[in-house]
Symmetry: C2
DNA sequence: CAGTATCCGAGTTGATACTG
DNA sequence: CAGTATCAACTCGGATACTG
């Protein structure tokens, strides 16, 4: 088994939306796929420094089940699997944009991680 | 102890933002405080059907530490404690609005919980 | 009223090894 | 390459009981 099907009913939309993006790497996966359009398993892995194969697979499966991600398997040797966002995944990403901006502000306020304070420059990745 | 201080650094804003709203009731707490302005402990409890005192306290403490919630203690008998959103909490809520709308759409698509299908009417709580 | 303190089971994440 | 399988930590959330 992979995911807890959520115990009770959703009380509001925020609730229902947070449920599908809660997971250590889901926000990043969404961002990565939105940025590049199509990504192979190994490419995603490289884009998410520190993720384990297990977690990446698990998150991708859940997001596929939630209708956010499309999984295209090419019957070749060596195997090739491509992941991309579905329409819903894309609209979710759009809805996530303001939150991303807020997060960047939060990071700026705390100037902790991400920027090592050497330069007020580049804060990539919305 | 209450919360894992997060292992690694944040990679993007989405990441940093999701970290502060991930928790079973945080989205609802934000919504409740934004809606009513100021709420006492027991009022919040009533507004979040099913929450335990422990989780409510824990989430409120974390959100206070994250600078989202202000906690005002009145030195009275019986004790009175009032919670409200800080400026950051309010902007976060605003940034969360599109996500809430997406969530409502998701619920409509699946017509699962929330609406029992008897009527296409009321879908309260953004 | 507004919490704290404990205990516990379930769920989530991580590390490692193996496969078609 | 793109995964599975397994085991072990670690967290999260819930239940219960008690306090200033």
């Amino acid at each position: 088994m992979t995911k807890a099907p959520r115990s009770g009913p959703y009380i509001c939309g925020i609730d229902a939306a947070l449920d599908v993006v809660s997971g250590k790497w889901k926000g990043l996966i969404l961002w990565e796929l939105d940025e590049h359009g199509v990504r192979r398993f190994a490419e995603l892995r490289r884009g998410l420094p520190g993720v384990s194969e297990k977690m990446l697979t698990q998150h991708l499966r859940e997001m596929e089940a939630d209708g956010l991600v499309h999984r295209q398997v090419h019957a070749e040797v060596p195997p090739r699997v491509e992941y991309s966002l579905t329409e819903h995944g894309h609209t979710l990403n759009t809805a996530l944009a303001p939150l991303g901006a807020w997060g960047v502000d939060r990071l700026r306020r705390e100037r902790s991680d991400l920027v090592e304070h050497r330069d007020a420059a580049a804060l990539p990745r919305p």
